[in-house]
Assembly symmetry: C2
Homo-oligomer: 307 residues x 2
Amino acid sequence: MIGPDDVRAAARVLDGVAHRTPVIRSRTLGDGIVLKPENLQRGGAFKFRGAYNKISSLPHGARVVAFSSGNHAQAVALASSLLGAQATILMPEDAPESKLAATRGYGADVVLYDRYTGDRETIAARMAEELSAEIVPPYDDPLIAAGQGTAALELLEDAGVVDTLVVPVGGGGLIAGCAAIAKELGVRRVVGVEPEAGNDWQQSFAAGEIVAIDVPRTIADGLQTHAPGVVTWEVASRLVDEIVTVTDEQMVEAMRFAFERLKLVIEPSGAVGLAAVREGIVEGASIGIVISGGNVAADRFADLIGS
Amino acid sequence: MIGPDDVRAAARVLDGVAHRTPVIRSRTLGDGIVLKPENLQRGGAFKFRGAYNKISSLPHGARVVAFSSGNHAQAVALASSLLGAQATILMPEDAPESKLAATRGYGADVVLYDRYTGDRETIAARMAEELSAEIVPPYDDPLIAAGQGTAALELLEDAGVVDTLVVPVGGGGLIAGCAAIAKELGVRRVVGVEPEAGNDWQQSFAAGEIVAIDVPRTIADGLQTHAPGVVTWEVASRLVDEIVTVTDEQMVEAMRFAFERLKLVIEPSGAVGLAAVREGIVEGASIGIVISGGNVAADRFADLIGS
């Protein structure tokens, strides 16, 4: 259960710590469309907001454990280093060397596991118990979701209230927090966007309850969740108006547009909202789009764009 | 002759028209280093500032002529469309199709010439006479330089006064305007950065007068000038403290860093200041870096980075 006051409280915690990312407009994209580029956030993604908000609630010097191959790992490592927490991050042994290095670079201990033989949640739970550590989950937590919602709060404060807010959906932490504050501030419609290959949220909305799917095959590695979270579903199922999907090709096209016209580097998961608007899948009198992150290596970017 | 009040006047002209680009900080880059990312400016480069400031001084409906294969062409076309001016842009017939299309997309007439047989300044002068049009020069003009200086004014207002300001140098419009306001506001040192292959400014500083060189071979296509401008030299020779150079390889390394860590797309010319600071060529207690532009096609970027 989170509400707008939880997001406002998180904003106070993050003030002066998280970057207040700018509002970006582009005539080419269209009048009335504003972007919140969280790829410019510390750690390269919105994930820093929730991680910092969560870890700041723990005693100084606390031990934390997180499992992630992506943006959440770096966010927990960075937030921990700023807050004096001891972070141990469980990462798959075949994670890109750049991500391992970035996570260690923030001062975290990295523990590797074999993603084909080990279950990361079980391993993380055992590690947390052995270390007397708190698990910082990637999304299914009220303080995490409230922290992520500050992205929408800033957007609406800086650009004014929009008619439609468009948000990527993976585990649902970002959209739950954003919807909680956006609806309070008068946004008419909140739309979630997920990969066509992994529409667990769309299926869950249709069923009226959480539906789990196989882990989807998509280039949007940040959105490869197989089911909505429990905390995030409780909020989003009440406040989110619609879930739409985009294809991998549409994400790549949006990444190219962002590169060439906006001069912004966006990872596939971060591009889904922009793709949905560019393709006319989402329309509105005025639209705010949350760009969730930009952590994609230059070589992989070139591979994706160069097709 | 331009001074700080000319830059302040330009800032009033540009208020609400140019993007007030954000200030970007990065812990990886270093504490005390702030970036002014003019790649996020309208048209993808700082050039819009000067072009708009210049064209707004002309009567409504005026005809303007500009010659450019790059950012200045798009800046003049865009500023003209906003101000109701009639723009004709002289571009080389082998200019990239994307740049021709972008310039036409802003509503300008494009006239092509053969860069191997025609002299663009002569052709432009003849066109301007035939059309009773005003030439909007790329840099050697007080209103152009004053407009470019608003980038530094905003940076120093938003980030506070820095010890050292680092600015790319091609024709000198950007650094002349930036130095005029920066020195007034208390910046101790203004450093210009140009390609090692084309150090016309460095040679001019050493000689104490304008020195012309052959058009340099460098990936920094925006900095391929062969001599300082007359107006810009008058200002910069008095106010700029030092000119340093970077290699093409150092620019590429800075472009990669900006892509992977800052999530910003920077063209080679735009990366020279970042390169100089990253390589330790410029140091300072606090440093402001103007990133001049980001107009580089995704394919060319991949070619440059992928080496």
